[in-house]
Amino acid sequence: MIDESLVKSNFIGRDGFRWWIGQIPPLSTMGKQTKGNGWGNRYKVRIMGYHPANTVELKDEDLPWAICMLPTTSGTGGAELSTSIKLTQGDTVFGFFLDGDDAQLPVIMGCLGHTKYKVSGEIGPFKPFTGYSDYIKNNGARIVPTETNEKTSTSAKSPRLVSEKKADAIGGGPTGNERSFYSAIGETTQGASASRSKILDKISTALENFINKIETLNRDISFGIDGARRKIDIEIDKVTKSIADSMSGMVTGIVNTIFVEMAPILNQGLKLLYRLVYNLVLSATGNPVAAHLAGVAAQNAMVAPIKFLQNKIPTVANYIINSIASVIKGMLKSIVNNIANFVTCVADQFIGSLVNNVIGKMANTLKSAIDGIQKITQFFGGFSIKNLLNQNPLALFGGKSSPLSCGEKAEGVDAQVLKWVIGKGPKNAPGFQPEKIVDLANNAMSIVGTAKATISGVQEAVGAFDIYTSNIKNANFKSTLGKCYAGPPLTCGAPTISIFGGDGIGAAAVPIMGALVNDSVLGQTASIIGVKILNPGSGYTFPPFIEVLDNCNKGYGAQIRATLTPEGSIEDMYVVSEGEGYPVGEVVPYVVDRVKVIDGGRGYKETDKVIDNLGNEYRPKVFQGTIIGVDPINRTEIIDLPVLEVISDTGIGAFLKPVLDFPTQGPAQTQVDCITK
């Protein structure tokens, strides 16, 4: 042995090659090497078969340094060509010794990836333990710690491009295994509009975003997550400012409209006042000249009070605008625990509250001025600020629009899309009916015994709206204002298709559901694998926007596009992304009715084949190398989205999408119980 050792050089490759496998100990044992002032790509290693499996016999600090071998694609650092090493503590590494049997100069050549069967536990020699340390930390708020490197859905788990609320739902709560990429995903933004009629939409949008945010924060509170209550206060402050700013146009519009409506009434009142005084003096004196002068004097006496009233115009608007924020804040605080789900009637009631408060403020602010002209309003029994608004609910939209010239179109320059959901795209905005809001506001103020309904911190009444009571979360509750249920959705129907924009009207379609998934929490869900056009509509000048609506807001990711006929009707709708998680009751089989050629490509032959991943075959029609049509050969029933592929030795670039249809009749519109499933 001694002779053998004497003749050996113990230099790699000269007289033997020794592989080894080992583990990187905790980084805290590596001194300067982990503090930025070590040298080389070195890690200590505990090598199996060479080093004991405990730190008593051999401390981690006393382990040998191993140098890392780099692949040729990493660069050495020469000419600034480099790639950082990604090893960390706990990693299982293997390599060889530069000094053969001396085993003092280990080289790390590679590593074994962590798998989902790795057990994270106590840090110790040859035990699998975490790679996180004081040097690399992860509290899990943004990236779920998986510490695995394999081709699975749970390895190196990335956040998802969904809202935080939806990520929580998919992952089973804020402490689950799903994260949102970005906290603003799912928020609706309101674009600039040439039409002032979008004021109410702006308020509604801000309210919808707020309620969605609060839902998530309330859930965080239920999970005991620190700071959630404070975040609710911050959200209230933010949305208060946003709604208050949007209110400016509405307040100035109401003030303007009321004064415009008031002017002819007061004018008429002045004339009636003259007549009254004239008749009184004439009957008392018999002198028409004296009667006339008295009438004129009575009208003249109204100049000062009318001037006083006129000077209130900017005062009252500014007063309301400057004080509306505290009202909005009070209202938001009052509803924050009552609304579990945003529905349009919540926005109606919220805006109705604001209308009542604005009217109340106007009435209070103008009281002395209105009292001062009582001599001319006495002729109009029902004269009040509220009644003036009732006569012109369009004031809620900021007053009347500018007059149109002859032949000018009223639509002006308004965009096809006025709302945008971050991370998703265009959203339809059907708009508000001002008459309905005004009626609602009046009804809420006229409820017996609650006409002075006020909320904390708000001086003027807002009305007895349901949103200020927890009853609104009760599915059976119905007030005199009607039914407005803002609790969790009770039934989840199949998603619906909203078609808007494109300059046309009348198109209608229903989704075709497939790719069923049975989930113990969510029940049976599905993807949208096709669209059945019920009405192709007309008048479209460009493909309309298509929004998938899910009343329970459980599904996500379905993206559909439309193509038009030359005449302006919808020709086809095809699925760009099938989405997932949509509620569905029963899925009936479908067939590929036809194939939409998105791109015909080039270089194809008539003998080329088209197949899909579900076993269907298709016959392509080729003209001058381009696929101009594809006919299904066999119409096999399917419940999944087929992906078409052209088998060709010569062609490139064709992109085909299947258009599905029901083999016999329409889809079943089953409702699913969302509470129990």
Binding site: S153, A192, N267, K271, V296, N300, A515, Y556, G557
Partner: protein, 237 residues
């Protein structure tokens, strides 16, 4: 978790650089815009994130929790284009939400609309020019209740007293188009807190009540003041 049964994880390639940055390519997990073509995702120590990526519906996302800086042209020709943003088919939206303002500053600003240009303001629209303001169109309209740009016949006072026996000189004097003095003070105060406004409001109301009482007293005594240039004769209708 009710994800689709046909997710293709084999085409997913992730380059992760610890919990602070990753490049994720071909991730089949479903998002609001479909599955992901690629994402580059960064996280600060404070948990603030930055994302650029492309989804299968073709939407390219740029998200950032804090500011985004886009600066160009430091060494470009001064007559060139430093930043170019174009929407090829649809609208270009710029929206500042919550407390934000949209600010545009340059030595010259050109808003060039092929068709219509609309300026909406919920509260005030202010146009200041050092030298000249030119408005030119085939039709020019103004409307309002107060102010010196409001046509005389459409101001509130003029509307109320139209066709009455109150002399035009009295109406003109009372409802002159000059900026009302005194009354604006309380609207200025209104920009502070609401209690200041209320105090001012009460003072003004008290003042008016006294004035109104005086008017009423005159009337009851039967010595009505006559209108300045009131035209007598025909009775008001």
């Amino acid at each position: 978790m009710a994800t689709r049964p046909n997710e293709n994880w084999f085409q997913r390639f992730a380059e992760t650089y610890g919990p602070k940055f990753r490049i994720d390519i071909g991730n089949p997990q479903m998002g609001e815009s479909g599955t992901e073509v690629y994402n580059m995702y960064g996280v600060t120590n404070e948990g603030e994130v930055s994302l650029v990526g492309l989804s299968e519906n073709g939407m390219y996302h740029i998200y950032n929790d804090q500011s985004i800086e886009i600066v160009a042209g430091q060494k470009a020709a001064s007559t060139g284009v430093d930043i170019y943003i174009t929407g090829k088919n649809g609208d270009v939206w710029i929206t500042a939400e919550k407390n934000g303002k949209v600010r545009i500053r340059a030595s010259q600003i050109v808003l060039d609309a092929d068709k219509d240009l609309t300026l909406n303001a919920g509260n005030n629209l202010t146009i200041n020019a050092g030298q000249k303001i030119s408005i030119k169109a085939n039709e020019v309209w103004t409307d309002g209740l107060l102010g010196n740009a409001v046509p005389k016949e459409t101001s509130f006072g003029q509307r109320v007293f139209k066709g009455t026996f109150v002399g035009q000189d009295v109406i003109d004097k009372a409802f002159s188009s000059t900026e009302p003095k005194g009354e604006c003070e309380d609207s200025d105060q209104g920009s502070g807190n609401s209690s200041d406004t209320s105090t001012q409001q009460k003072k003004e109301d008290d003042l008016f009540s006294a004035e109104n009482t005086k008017l009423t007293g005159n009337e009851t005594s039967g010595s009505f003041a006559t209108g300045g240039a009131a035209s007598g004769g025909a009775l008001a209708e």
